[in-house]
Symmetry: C2
Subunit: 355 residues, 2 copies
């Protein structure tokens, strides 16, 4: 238990869940309300069942319902035992961006955001919220950001990494203008890759099983980060921050080196860049710990940390209540006290402007 | 110049090219012969023009025609100055696997293989050939491997990494049975990602420019390697070797660690695996140097080398005559003499059984 070490913790990826789709009904207009009441929400399923499930069974609340659907039990099971000062609630609705109908996707995102404020954010002082936006129609997404951003417990935006097009591309820029204007970081979260309107999960189609699917999710992050940098998003919106949740980090040396090298040869095609690509990654992108890579020799991970200056771009996440979630007292041993404090606490505190 | 150091060199990725599509006519049956004479070959174009071109202009032979289309000039421009004992000719036809018509793709592959033997392999003692096969119809691919494999200067098979489905999947296994039976390593080479019948180059669609496209090619390798291991290809064909050309290597620690970790949690879905995934990668996959990642601090690359035991899985490639090709005397300084000899020479000599 980490309390003995006085480690202060902010958890940047906690998956609060609906008890059932009826939770959204009070926040839905017609005709969507009747549709959801009849048939559920219908976010496309990716079709990669995990042999161990994706939710820890021991997180089921005594009150019933799915894991992480009861705020009171979530406090008892996660917040209190791990002494978490703030939990950034990311929900499980970010894959609205894989839905075929942009209006329906936007309505589901709005209903979830109202539900988040009404049913979660007032329930415990540690809770902070990420609003979900659907990216299919950026104008509707901007409207939703403007509607929700000033709520005092809303600290960020979360979108699925499963997208029809890469996140650097121009149609998304109005969303980034709004996010920067409201000082809201944008977190991307995996899970819907290959579902609905998103492309196949790899350049060579669909993996066969969850183990392959889950392993190669990080490649979508590599593609998004490359796109965000090369399209000049961070020149256009220098104060915008992206948070890559659950995508791993040990691929960063490869990507930074390969991209910097290519930039040196091909910079004429991206004349808006004024710095090396890796510098934009370091200044505008942050990453979460879970699922952290676990080499046979734990020192190898710390070596990678040094290469990417991890103590300034990494933030702790538990990913509660997912199957592979991390206990903050058991990961990342061997870091200096200062690095640990930044990764478990200070980086998130600064990013989300938590007092 | 490396001759002064007596560095022995085998180059595992040299892109001999056709002078023009008419070069294949003598080897094509009708109706394809008349079609190619009329309209060219028609391998799908990926549509990512490079601002600097993909071919070095200074490699144009004095005799005319494209770079690397004149065996005599290739010897003068690459083989002799860099003291290359063997050059594995990989050609530029591997993206036949992105063609829509499996019969036409197989015929083009066969014609190219006959052309390779007739126009290249007898021209210089350093030349060794990789036959191309089209993967759309594995039965035709097996027939082609059986037809060509016993030629004494054929030492391997090359296929595009641009595929409709991931290379571990079952429809490809007859190809692997044939390759293992003939002791021919299978090299995969990038370039056609997103073209023809292959999927979009990323899980979120199409990158905008060549710089992004070229940077994230490595993610397709991550997906193929994951697929090959998890589908049990190396349990079924333990003597089969794959060579990942031009995909980079610094992503290997990430992939090995993430895959091993997931295997520990999810092994029930891949019960045919008897070792950790990373062990199959180390025993059955090799990688080529070009384009080698270039960190600001060159020691960081050597640190990655240690993590992945690079001296036993890496082989030198020049990628001549591509725009970013590498001079063997200028890369990978700082390696021990033993590691250098393995990477520049011995690993390829063993793999391709070169006397």
């Amino acid at each position: 238990m980490n309390m003995s070490t006085n480690l202060k913790v902010i958890d940047v990826d906690v998956h609060n869940q609906l008890k059932c789709s009826d939770d959204l009904l009070p926040f839905l207009p017609e005709p969507w309300k009747s549709q959801v009441a009849r048939t559920g929400i219908g976010i496309p399923d990716r079709g990669y069942p995990s042999p161990v499930g994706v939710i820890r069974k021991d997180c089921t609340p005594p009150s019933g319902g799915p894991a992480a659907s009861d705020p009171e039990f979530l406090v008892k099971d996660l917040i209190e035992p791990f002494n978490i000062e703030y939990a950034i609630l990311t929900g499980n609705m970010m894959d609205v961006s894989t839905m075929h109908d942009p209006d329906y996707a936007a309505v589901i995102a709005s209903a979830y955001n109202d539900y988040l404020i009404s049913k979660w954010l007032s329930m415990h002082p540690s809770f902070r919220g990420s609003i979900v936006v659907a990216t299919q129609d950026p104008i509707l997404a901007v409207r939703e950001i403007d509607r929700m951003a000033e709520h005092p417990e809303i600290v960020g935006i979360v979108i699925g990494s499963a997208q029809r097009t890469l996140l650097g591309q121009r149609q998304f820029h109005p969303i980034y203008e709004a996010a920067e204007r409201h000082r809201l970081p944008i977190a991307i979260h995996p899970g819907g890759e290959g579902a609905g309107i998103s492309s196949a999960p790899t350049a060579s189609g669909y993996p066969t099983r969850y183990i392959e699917y889950h392993t190669i999710l990080s490649q979508n992050y590599m593609a998004h980060v490359t796109s965000l940098v090369c399209e000049g998003v961070f020149e256009k919106f220098p104060n915008l921050k992206f948070v890559c949740l659950e995508g791993g980090i040990a691929w960063l040396p490869h990507l930074m080196w390969r991209l910097d090298k290519n930039y040196k040869g091909l910079r004429s095609s991206v004349p808006w860049l004024k710095r090396l690509p890796s510098e934009y990654i370091r200044s505008n992108c942050l990453f979460s710990t879970q699922p952290i890579e676990e080499p046979e020799n734990p020192k190898d991970l710390l070596t990678i940390f040094d290469m990417i200056d991890a103590e300034n771009i990494l933030m702790f996440s538990s990913d509660y209540p997912h199957w592979d979630n991390d206990d903050p007292s058991k990961i990342l041993r061997g870091l200096s006290a200062e690095a640990k404090n930044k990764i478990f606490y200070q980086n998130a505190k600064n990013l989300y402007n938590l007092s």
